[in-house]
Amino acid sequence: MSLPRSQYDPRRVCVIPFNFESIPIFRKKRSLGVYVSGLLFGLAHWIFLDAAVLSAHAHPPPDAPYDTVPIHITFLDWIPGICSTLGLLIVNLVNKEQLIGEGGSFGSGEGGFVWRVRLFLFFGFALMAGGLAGSVCVLVLKYIVPQFDDYLYYGYANVAQNVLVMLSAIVLWIAQNTHDDDEYNYQLTL
């Protein structure tokens, strides 16, 4: 007597009882991932632009209507976002298949090439991490330490922008390594 053929891959550690493949939109994993990534990217920049527009239209505090607004968003606040965006561009311009195929099709003679790709990738990740660190730095040094409590939103928007750009890069990375309608290739290659 033979066992019935299992409905799931027996190598899987966790069996999810809900079948995501039954929903049509989850079959287009790659497109969905790219859409979500673009959504996160747009959201990131709009959160920061919201703070920038708010800063440009800021009113003086209501108890002292003739004072000037003490702090504005300057070019300093834009630098972390620019770094993060450059990092996202660099990371996603690298052809990951060449990096993953390091041991296989690329022999030891191509070691210099893989090394350069990896350096490029490292540079991109460093830019993104630097952008995130820089935004936290701006939040602490420009808004928290001088106690501009009413204008903390500018700093938080900056941090949110960089976190979202990083999330967008991660989603885009995962999406680029998945394929639509391909049940054998659902494992994410990182």
Binding site: R30, V34, G38, G42, L43, V53, Q176, H179
Partner: protein, 129 residues
């Protein structure tokens, strides 16, 4: 064909209501900035439409590993989120009235939904025949 005709009429009504909401949100407060939302949502499917036609000459042949199409999708969703975020940002900065912002978001959503539904209906029709 009658069902198709009904769909077209319904979609055109929804499109008209969407544009009506956007134009009302501008005209009621004499501030024509929310009109950018209509432009944004009309332009939103454009990158997808352009980039889906290019880059098919690679030897993979399948469209799902096409970087150009991916870039088009990325740009499309960026533009869509712009359409939703712009009125919110303008309302937050007190440039436009919050009601105008809500009206233009709903109107823009209707316009974009019409475009999506129209392309979906059109696509299934062309696959059937």
């Amino acid at each position: 064909m009658a069902a198709g005709l009904k769909t077209v009429i319904l979609l055109s009504f929804v499109l008209a209501i969407g544009f009506l909401l956007i134009i009302l949100s501008c005209a009621l407060w004499q501030n024509w900035l929310p009109l950018i939302v209509a432009l944004t949502f009309v332009l939103a499917p454009l990158p997808n439409a352009i980039f889906s036609h290019c880059g098919n000459s690679d030897d993979f042949g399948s469209s799902d590993t096409n970087p150009a199409a991916d870039f088009g999708r990325f740009l499309t969703s960026c533009v869509v989120i712009t359409g939703f975020a712009l009125p919110l940002v303008l309302a937050h900065a007190e440039v436009i009235h919050p009601t105008a912002s809500a009206m233009s978001i709903v109107g823009g959503g209707l316009v974009y939904g019409t475009i999506l539904a129209y392309s979906a209906v059109f696509k299934t029709d062309s696959e059937e025949f």
